[in-house]
């Protein structure tokens, strides 16, 4: 033990990725150990193995509901990002529109839209429509705000150059504004997309008859903790997967943003 400590102190500190991995493993071990040792009541926290057993045991049920959830997330994400980024580009590049609408959008973003959910169910029923609309609105705002902000921070010189090459308005938007704003748009999408997932699941928990959120909420009323946690685990996995996906896209499309501006002497 002391030997290991000494050698790790001699080498440079563990990489952040390794630390994250260790933390994750520690959480899983605690998740298994704490309930088993009786330190936490099983009703509050069923052991990891129990949770996994519940997940595997009801795999068909979880699978079917997961499909509903994924479908809603997919549609809502398309709407949220499509509208958010599209409107963001438009509003961000037209100064009078931006001055009028930006404060409105940021004001709206500060309102916890969940409180409006009962309205959504009244308007769209308790079927998938209401949760899709709700999650779309919920996730759209950060996409919209992020894209607008991204466009405002673009170097004006990029636009002058585009004009000197006689780019049309649409070419400027699609070939200059959008790629230049891409890094900001993607980080906005990271937040907006996560909110879409949260929005769908929360909507399912509140009023719905299908989806992972619905399962979590139903098993909670049955006091079946392993099944509740199995659902939660699925949602966490979903969010983590989404984050990893966005990161991949960022690596591919926005690599230039993360590299230094200065090159070698020449």
């Amino acid at each position: 033990m002391s030997l290991a400590m000494a050698s790790s102190a001699a080498r440079p500190a563990l990489s952040p990725a390794a630390v994250r991995l260790l933390l994750g493993i520690a959480v899983l071990i605690l998740w298994e150990a704490l309930p088993r040792l009786g330190l936490v009541p099983q009703l509050f926290l069923p052991a990891l193995s129990q949770t996994l057993a519940a997940l595997v045991g009801s795999a068909a049920e979880y699978g079917a509901h997961l499909l509903h959830t994924l479908r809603a997330i997919g549609i809502a994400m398309l709407v949220a990002c499509g509208l958010g980024i599209g409107l963001g580009l438009l509003i961000g590049s037209v100064a009078p529109l931006r001055r009028t609408l930006q404060p409105l959008a940021s004001g709206l973003y500060a309102v916890p839209i969940v409180i409006l959910y009962p309205l959504f169910t009244a308007w769209f029923g308790i079927g998938p429509q209401s949760k899709i609309v709700f999650a779309s609105v919920y996730g759209m705002l950060p996409c919209l705000l992020g894209t607008m902000a991204g466009i405002q921070t673009i170097d004006r010189q990029y636009l002058t150059v585009a004009r000197s090459m006689r780019a049309s308005r649409w070419q400027v938007i699609g070939r200059v504004l959008l790629p230049a704003a891409m890094p900001t748009v993607l980080s906005a999408f990271r937040v907006g997309g996560a909110l879409v997932i949260v929005g769908v699941v929360v909507a399912e928990m509140l009023t719905s008859s299908e989806g992972i959120g619905y399962l979590i909420s139903r098993y909670r009323t049955l006091l079946d903790s392993p099944h509740v946690f199995a659902g939660i685990l699925l949602v966490v996995l979903l969010v983590v997967l989404f984050g990893a996906l966005v990161q991949q896209v960022e690596r591919r499309t926005a690599h230039w943003r993360f590299s230094t501006r200065s090159g070698e002497a020449g």
Partner: protein, 290 residues
């Protein structure tokens, strides 16, 4: 990387602009319609930013014959960039007309005038090759053709083998080479540059000056070049246009009698020192007046 200045008698034909200042207005029409000719007539400009009025340019007349290398110098803020922006069609002057290669420059026309800016002008999300292809792709030139044309221009500026580099992987000098390649990719007969080497260190700056002279000699373009540097002006130019402090007027036009190709050694000749002094005297006078 730098090929030595090759040009021998780079096209500086007996020019219409060698006329004395007082007569500069008259013979504009003679050259105005030739490709590569630049004619600025009676151009004044006043900026009006929500009531704050700035008179930037006052009655500028300037005729440049095809193939000439003309350098514009003047005190900071005298309107050099403004004038260049108007000559490229990026800004409309409040009065006067500008004709480049026979076309009134009411809007940018990259087939007539290629533009190179000081910095931050390459798109960082595109490779060198794609940056140079960009203007062609806006006109929907077929992929194979624009790739070939961009490669050819990158080779012209000495950047073979760097096609796939992103701007952040290039040095400052290399980035400006890419900008020049992009400015030339539509084969305009005129190239206009606004302090293109101002952000570079002195060594790179001298190398880039030589490179630009070589490219100019090889292509026979008309070049209009704005700079702060007196040495750069004297080293590069056929003719130096000196502007007054704001509102910018043309107060002197100096023919540079140094032979071509220019060499570094010429910088220590008496004629070079005289040129520098003549420019500096005028600019200093302007600054102390202002």
């Amino acid at each position: 990387m730098s090929t030595m200045a090759r040009g021998t008698t780079a096209g500086s034909p007996a020019s219409a602009s060698a006329v004395p200042r007082s007569e500069a207005k008259a013979p504009l029409r003679i050259v105005a319609s030739a490709p590569g000719a630049v004619s600025v007539a009676g151009v004044s400009h006043t900026y009006d930013v929500s009531g704050r009025v700035t008179k930037a340019l006052d009655e500028i007349d300037l005729a440049i014959a095809p193939g000439r290398f003309v350098v514009i110098v003047g005190p900071s803020g005298c309107g050099k960039s403004s004038l260049l922006m108007m000559m490229t069609g990026l800004t409309k002057p409040t009065a006067g007309t500008i004709v480049c290669g026979g076309r009134p420059m009411t809007e940018p026309d990259p087939d007539v005038v290629g533009v190179v800016f000081q910095e931050a002008s390459l798109y960082p999300w595109l490779t060198a090759q794609d940056n140079v292809e960009f203007p062609l792709s806006l006109r929907r030139v077929p992929k194979a053709e624009r790739a070939a044309r961009a490669r050819e221009k990158l080779a012209l500026v000495g950047l073979q083998g760097f096609e796939d580099r992103y701007p952040h992987e290039l040095s400052g000098g290399m980035k400006q080479r890419v900008s020049i390649a992009r400015g030339l990719v539509q084969n305009p007969s005129i190239l206009m540059l606004d302090e293109p080497f101002a952000a570079l260190d002195e060594q790179t700056r001298i190398t880039m000056g030589d490179e630009l002279l070589r490219i100019w000699a090889e292509t026979g373009k008309t070049v209009v070049f704005v700079t702060h540097s007196l040495s750069e002006a004297a080293y590069l130019a056929d003719e130096i246009v000196v502007m007054s402090a704001r509102p910018g007027r043309i107060i002197d036009r100096i023919e540079v009698a140094l032979p071509r190709p220019r060499t570094y050694e010429m910088m220590s000749t008496p004629h070079f020192a005289e040129l520098r002094e003549r420019i500096w005297r005028q600019i200093r006078h302007q600054v102390s007046e202002g």
